[in-house]
Structure formats: structure tokens, C-alpha cells
């Protein structure tokens, strides 16, 4: 990776120092969530901040789990995973067809998918809410999952990846007598796998952070996502920051752990999504 030996100019030293300082500022909110979640009520409300909780308490977590917090976390994971699987499956099929199949209306369909991508998603939320109520899906995870899967970015991304499939390989599979299903599973999938990985990560994070959609579609206490749960804690117990931090920690820790474990995949996924997009 290293291209050339770095000369230590004063500018470089100053830049790196500034960057280190900024990264401490970026890490600080995370530190404040974690330490805040184990502070007792005096420490939380102290006029001069308690930088480090010397007598940590699990009281905030106990009060958090008096509510269905684990349920909220599970709802969120269910929504994100389902949306991810459905998106990857439907988008890789459609992307492959748009790139490699010749059928009537192909160019038109692709143009529609592309133009819809420029649209701000939130704009369709009001009609979407009405539609979900009509389908009796309002206040179920599906009200959040289905529109996420419909979003055209995945199809676009997978089409770009499928362009890389050499026609000769498909031809060879056909001559070997492989049917459509066999060709897709054995030939196409292995080639577009990196693209699917990128799309999976992208969809998961998008679904996790899609607070507005969750807010509109989910109401009842047992159906909330973890983000909605924290927001609810915040409106109901506005100054109980210890409890709110416990909620924030519960939401942040699992996904951060996954992120740290699969860090290279994340950055590769983000980059590929954009370069191809």
C-alpha cells in the first residue's frame, strides 16, 4: 500500500496532530454513551461532569430491561436481516437480467429504475403509510421491510456488477446444457458475489438508520425498533440521561462489534457501491 517514503514536513506533522485530536472528539460521544450508561443519577446530573464513573452501577440497564428493550433490538435485527436478504435476492436476479438478457422493454425499465433513484425516499412516506394501512401491514415489520426492498439502488448496483460476466462463460454453460437456474446459481452468482456482499452491508446499515420510516410505520410498544425505543425513552423521561445512554449503548454495541469484525468488508462495500454507482 505504501507508495513512497513520507517526508516529515511541518504541514504533515500539523495535519496528523489535528487529525488525532479530531478523532478523539469523534470517539468521545461513544465514550460518553458507555460511561453515562453506568453512572448513577447524581453522577449523570452533576454540574461538574464525572469524567470517569468510579462507582459504576447497572441500575440504568435494569430499568432499561423493565421495558421490552431486547425485543426492540430483535425487531430491528429482524427488519434489517429480512430486508437485506430480500433485497440481495431480488436485486441480483433483476440486475443480471438487465445486464445480460435481451427482452422487450429492458432499456425502458432500466431508465425508470435510474430516475427513481434520484427521488428523495421520504417524499413517498405519506402515501406509503396509507398503502400499508390498506394492506393491513401497518405496525408490522413488513411495513418497513417492503419499501426498503423496493428501493431501486440494489437493482442498479447489481446490474453494474453483472456487466462483468463474460458472455463466453454464459455461452459455455448453455452449450454444456445448463438450464437457467443452474447457470444463475453456478456461473452468475460466484461472479457477482462481491457485489452482493456490498449490497448486503449497504442495505443493512440503511435499514438500521431509517428512523423516519420506522417512526411512521411502527406504533405499538412491542413492535418498536431500538432507535424508536430510545427516542421514546427520550420523550418520556427527557432528563433521565443514564437510562437513555443505556438504551443508546444497547443499540450501538452490537452493530459496532459487527462493524469492527468485518471492517474491511464494510469499507470495500461502501467503496464498491459508490464506484459502481
Amino acid at each position: 500500500m505504501q507508495t513512497s517514503v513520507q517526508r516529515l514536513t511541518p504541514y504533515r506533522v500539523a495535519s496528523v496532530a489535528l487529525l488525532v485530536l479530531l478523532s478523539l472528539l469523534f470517539l468521545f460521544p461513544m465514550y460518553w454513551i458507555l460511561t453515562g450508561s453506568v453512572k448513577d443519577i447524581q453522577a449523570v446530573n452533576a454540574a461538574s461532569p464525572v469524567w470517569f464513573p468510579l462507582s459504576p452501577t447497572l441500575d440504568n440497564y435494569q430499568r432499561l430491561f423493565d421495558r421490552p428493550a431486547m425485543h426492540w433490538l430483535w425487531n430491528t435485527v429482524f427488519i434489517c436481516l429480512t430486508a437485506m436478504l430480500l433485497t440481495c435476492a431480488s436485486a441480483s436476479l433483476a440486475g443480471y437480467a438487465l445486464a445480460k438478457k435481451r427482452f422487450r422493454g429492458r432499456a425502458f425499465l432500466f431508465a425508470v429504475f435510474i430516475s427513481a433513484m434520484a427521488l428523495p425516499k421520504q417524499v413517498i412516506l405519506i402515501p406509503l403509510l396509507k398503502e400499508m394501512s390498506f394492506l393491513r401491514l401497518h405496525d408490522t415489520p413488513w411495513a418497513v421491510i417492503l419499501p426498503t426492498v423496493g428501493w431501486p439502488f440494489g437493482v442498479f448496483l447489481m446490474k453494474q456488477f453483472s456487466e462483468n460476466i463474460p458472455g463466453s462463460v454464459l455461452e459455455a454453460a448453455r452449450i454444456d446444457g445448463a438450464g437457467e437456474a443452474m447457470t444463475f446459481l453456478k456461473v452468475v452468482l460466484p461472479i457477482i458475489k462481491p457485489g452482493i456482499g456490498a449490497l448486503a452491508i449497504f442495505t443493512f446499515i440503511t435499514a438500521w438508520n431509517d428512523y423516519f420510516m420506522q417512526l411512521i410505520m411502527l406504533n405499538s410498544q412491542a413492535k418498536l425498533t431500538i432507535s424508536l425505543g430510545i427516542a421514546k425513552l427520550q420523550t418520556e423521561m427527557s432528563n433521565d440521561f443514564g437510562l437513555i445512554m443505556a438504551g443508546a449503548a444497547l443499540s450501538a454495541i452490537p452493530i459496532t462489534a459487527v462493524f469492527l469484525l468485518f471492517q474491511q468488508f464494510f469499507t470495500r462495500g461502501i467503496t464498491m457501491g459508490a464506484v459502481k454507482g
Binding site: S4, N45, P49, A97, R104, V123, F212, M245, T267
Partner: protein, 300 residues
């Protein structure tokens, strides 16, 4: 002979169409059902007074109402301010940070990537609630630190003061927005043709000149992508507003997206809300087109 050939050809064509649409079917169902249909409904109902108890065609009345609506005007100004500050700030900062980071060794470079991407992963809501605490008037960290440093004399209600609230929101938006741009710029800068850079350096070109003449054109596509996504995301700012200020104080932090939410879900004025949504979509579309045009002009 010829006719049978033609029928065979037609049968093959039909088969190909069938196969194509079979592949497309799942994605099409989701896309038509949950994107295109509601999009059409948004357009149609923006021409009605759709609310809890009425549904009448009112032509362009909702759009006319927007022109007279002071709060909508304020929300538009605020939204444009947020976009105008955050888009250049995010783009320039991430370009600067990436240009420092991409020359580092693997380990340090992934450390910084992780740190700046962290707020994206942690999730908007978790990040927002901790900032709310830090901004808090009586037990917030910010007031304590600034008082200890002697910058302020008395505690400030950061989110409750018209002069500061929107800047606090822009700051948080900034921290949650730079993750992806930095990662993208690092990868774009590492892909710049190294031989060109070396050749220019041998010829005695300054750092600035190397950047401007060689690197900048090669990372143009990345810049364009970053500009477009940051613009779209900043225009749609919602969670921060809803969680921190509810558009207050005195509409100082009201944005288009929050205003839509307020009208549609608090006042049940769906028709008016949808009309505002359509206007927002058009504004975002225009911005994207302008950015594309500018970038293309730059490249030529």
C-alpha cells in the same frame, strides 16, 4: 420453410421475453408496489385537500398555499442554509482528512477510517441523544467546558436559543455525514496514477500543482458522487430535528422534511404534506442536475 423459421424465431423471442421478466418479477413487484405506486399517489393527492375527513380535488391550491406559508418559507430557508453549509464543509473536510490519511500505513489508515465512520454505524438516534445531553443547559458537558475555559460566563441553552440551535444541528449532521466521503476519497486518492504524480514531482511541480493538475481531475467522479449524496441527505434532515428541537425554538430549526412530518402526521393534512414533498423532490432534482452539469463542465 420460411414461415416455420419465422415462427421458430418468434417462439424464441417470446421465450426470451418470458425468461427476462421472470428474472425481473420479484424486484418489479417491490418496486412498482412500494415505490412507483406511492410516488404516483403523492403526485395525485398533492392536488387534493386529503385529510382525515375530506378528499376533494383542489387543483394547485396546496402549491399556492406554500407560497403564502411563512413557516414553509422559514423551513425552506433553514434547509437551504443547512445544505449550503454542510455540503461544502463535509466535502472539503473529508478531502483534507483523506489526503492526510491515505499516505499512512495500513494500520493507522484503517484506524482513522473506523473512527470517522463510527457515528454512521452507531446509528443516528444513539449519536443524537448523547449530543442532546452534551448540549444540555444545566448538566451538559459543553457549557461546563466552555465555562471552565472562560469562553462563556453563564450557561447557554444551546438547543433552546434561536441563535445557536441550527448550528448545533449542523455540527451533529457534520459528524454523522463525513464517514462515507472519507472512505471514498481515501480509495480514490490511492487509485490516482502514481507514475504521473512522480513524473510531475521530478519536473519540480509544487504539491499544490500536483494536486490541482493531476489528482483533482482523477478524483472528480468521487467528488461528484459525494456532492450528490451529501446534498440529498442534508436536504432530507429529519431525525436530528425531531429528536433535538422539534423545529423550535420559534421555527429556528424547522426544515422542509420536519414541516412535512408535522403537517402530515400531527395535523393530518396529507394533501398539503404531499405537495411539500413534491416541491422538495423537485428542488433536490434541480440541485443534482446543476452539480452534474458543473462537474461535466469542469472535466472538459
Amino acid at each position: 420453410m420460411q414461415t416455420s423459421q419465422r415462427t421458430a424465431l418468434r417462439a424464441r423471442e417470446r421465450r426470451e421475453n418470458l425468461i427476462g421478466y421472470a428474472y425481473m418479477a420479484p424486484a418489479l413487484v417491490f418496486f412498482l408496489g412500494f415505490v412507483i405506486f406511492p410516488m404516483g399517489m403523492a403526485l395525485v393527492t398533492s392536488l387534493t385537500d386529503y385529510s382525515m375527513d375530506s378528499f376533494n380535488f383542489v387543483g394547485l391550491a396546496n402549491y399556492a398555499r406554500m407560497l403564502r406559508d411563512r413557516v414553509f418559507g422559514k423551513a425552506m430557508v433553514n434547509t437551504v442554509l443547512i445544505v449550503a453549509v454542510s455540503v461544502p464543509a463535509v466535502t472539503l473536510f473529508s478531502l483534507w482528512a483523506a489526503s492526510v490519511v491515505y499516505k499512512m500505513r495500513q494500520r493507522s489508515s484503517s484506524f482513522f477510517r473506523i473512527v470517522f465512520y463510527m457515528p454512521v454505524v452507531t446509528g443516528t438516534v444513539a449519536v443524537t441523544v448523547v449530543w442532546k445531553w452534551m448540549f444540555s443547559r444545566y448538566n451538559g458537558l459543553l457549557n461546563y467546558v466552555l465555562r471552565a475555559l472562560g469562553v462563556i460566563g453563564t450557561n447557554i441553552s444551546w438547543l433552546g436559543d434561536e441563535a445557536y440551535a441550527i448550528w448545533c444541528i449542523i455540527l451533529i449532521l457534520f459528524t454523522t455525514s463525513i464517514g462515507q466521503p472519507i472512505v471514498l476519497y481515501i480509495s480514490a486518492l490511492s487509485n490516482v496514477d502514481a507514475s504521473l504524480v512522480e513524473a510531475a514531482e521530478v519536473d519540480g511541480a509544487t504539491h499544490f500543482k500536483v494536486f490541482w493538475k493531476i489528482k483533482w481531475p482523477q478524483i472528480m467522479n468521487t467528488t461528484l458522487y459525494i456532492l450528490v449524496i451529501t446534498t440529498i441527505n442534508s436536504f432530507q434532515i429529519f431525525a436530528l430535528i425531531q429528536l433535538l428541537t422539534s423545529g423550535g425554538p420559534n421555527n429556528a430549526t424547522n426544515t422542509i422534511m420536519y414541516n412535512i412530518y408535522y403537517h402530515a402526521f400531527k395535523l393530518n393534512e396529507y394533501g398539503y404534506g404531499n405537495a411539500m414533498g413534491v416541491v422538495l423532490a423537485v428542488v433536490i432534482g434541480l440541485f443534482s442536475v446543476v452539480q452534474f452539469r458543473l462537474a461535466r463542465a469542469e472535466r472538459e
